[in-house]
Amino acid sequence: MRYQRLGLDLVSHLLLAAGCGLFFLPVWLAFTASTHSMSDLYTHIAPLWVGDVGLDNYAQLLSEPVNGLKTGMLRLLFNSLVMATGIAVGKIVISVLAAYAIVFFRFPFRRLCFWLIFITLMLPVEVRILPTYEVVANLHMLDSYSGLILPLIASATATFLLRQFYLTIPPELVEAARIDGAGPWRFLKDILLPLSKTNLAALFVIMFIYGWNQYLWPLLITTDANYMTVVVSLKRMLTTGDALVPWQDVTATAILAMGPPVLVILLLQRYFVKGLVDAEK
């Protein structure tokens, strides 16, 4: 039974293409602006097409210290990479272990541990930002990678997802492994981890993007520009007082700041969609 209509299909394609285009427009305009000189930008409105100083702009941005900061763009990008990777890997490691304990072991206070971990799902770091800052300051972790990473690992999203997945593992598998003489560590290493490869990849994509895109937390705890992330530096570049905003630098930085996470999502799209939709269950 054919209930689709050709005309409607055509309209759908047109609307979808228009939607894709509209969503891409802000990025395109930022990109074209980043390839013009500042004086060129301020004589017209935002250019629709690329200019001729694109390579110079990016080369200059990457090689010279950032305006108003005593550090270079490469360092900022590196800091973002360390933070994003640290959060993704750290969260996955502690969650794999914790979810394993909760699903495959029976021990006293198991339910209490479960609730202690999962109650963290309810309060994002933004709500308890001030006291967390004080705790981190007391531990002398301001302006450090551990200060950037550890507080953002203290949430159970990954643990929750892995628990859901572990619960689908048939008990016979554990039984068989035990009969064959495998201890808990052996079972984790040789059976469970290989089985959860796609789930771990999905978690990595989501956590990497989450970590890279953090704003409020790194803004608060980094006063030393050597630990600032690229996303946070944008605001500094925008705050110029009475001077004109150097839009060619700001847009170039925005492009650099969105590059890595967008690449990750496009390359690992399959895992990303799976990870997101699984998170709902």
Partner: protein
């Protein structure tokens, strides 16, 4: 019974890293927030005095706080409804074209990876009063745009940037939800003579309602918290307090204004609000599992 039971210490070793991190960076600060909310600190931070509920009273009796709540409600609802309706519209189209649906998905999901702060910068540039493209177009239509002066325009700009970023998240869920609807159901309705509009409103839309509800909660949480970066880069909460949301006010009072007590009291109030939202969501998720 397929559990590892003979090694009583192993589960604690496995749980230790997460429990330590959660206690140090979650429970300790959360406890301090609750405690601070009941104390007043002097201007130099040297001494603390128990103040009972006075921090809460100070917050709740300030008319500014209610205008911030109102801004937050308007902002969150606009972001949630805007991002969800655009996403649903595009997802319905992508679901029906069959050919190319996954290509469109690729071209529509990447904004999810853009940081809220970066999204703010992109839209700030579009609407820049002197060289923004949209500003120039609006001027031709006789609309003067300056979000640095006009509070309503500032709020609209922050909403647009937030919707742009959040749409892709909703799109992924709506498309997954649509693709899970059995095609035979729609075919049967088509045979009975229901036109596409009718099929959508009487079959597809009701079947999507669990997804929509889930997304409404997730979008509100996004609008509450994650949009901090967007607001800070685009407007810094201004002009005046036109784009100051609850989270932004906690930041302003606590870090910029150094008013720890009232900031902590606001944190506690917000915790209760979010706790309530999450509770509703959990209840709802549990109910859905039984289907």
């Amino acid at each position: 019974m397929a559990y590892f039971q003979r090694s009583p210490l192993t589960p604690w070793l496995l749980l230790a890293p997460q429990l330590i991190i959660v206690s140090v960076f979650f429970f300790w600060p959360a406890w301090q927030a609750v405690q601070q909310a009941f104390y007043i600190e002097d201007a130099f931070g040297l001494s603390q005095q128990f103040a009972g509920l006075s921090n809460f009273i100070a917050v709740l009796s300030n008319p500014d706080y209610y205008s911030v709540i109102w801004t937050t409600v308007v902002f969150s609802l606009s972001v949630a409804l805007g991002a969800m309706s655009i996403a649903l519209f595009l997802a319905v189209l992508a679901d029906r074209v069959i050919k190319g649906a996954s290509t469109y998905k690729t071209f529509l999901i990447w904004p999810y990876a853009v940081a809220p702060a970066v999204a703010g910068v992109l839209w700030l540039f579009l609407f820049d009063p002197s060289l923004g493209l949209v500003t120039a177009l609006l001027e031709r239509l006789g609309i003067e745009w300056n979000h640095n002066l006009d509070g309503g325009q500032a709020l609209l700009l922050v909403i647009l940037a937030s919707v742009w970023k959040q749409m892709s998240y909703n799109f992924v869920f709506f498309l997954a939800g649509l693709q899970a609807i059995p095609k035979s159901l729609l075919e049967a309705a088509a045979i009975d003579g229901a036109n596409p509009m009718r099929r959508f409103w009487t079959i597809v839309f009701p079947l999507l309602s669990p997804t929509s509800f889930f997304l409404l909660v997730m979008n509100s949480i996004y609008a509450f918290f994650e949009t901090f970066g967007t607001i800070d880069t685009v407007t810094s909460g201004g002009p005046g307090s036109a784009t100051t949301t609850l989270v932004y006010k906690i930041y302003q009072d606590g870090f910029v204004g150094q008013n720890l007590g009232t900031s902590a009291a606001q944190s506690v109030l917000l915790m209760m609000l979010v706790g309530g939202l999450t509770f509703i969501q959990f209840r709802f998720v549990e109910r859905r599992v039984q289907y």
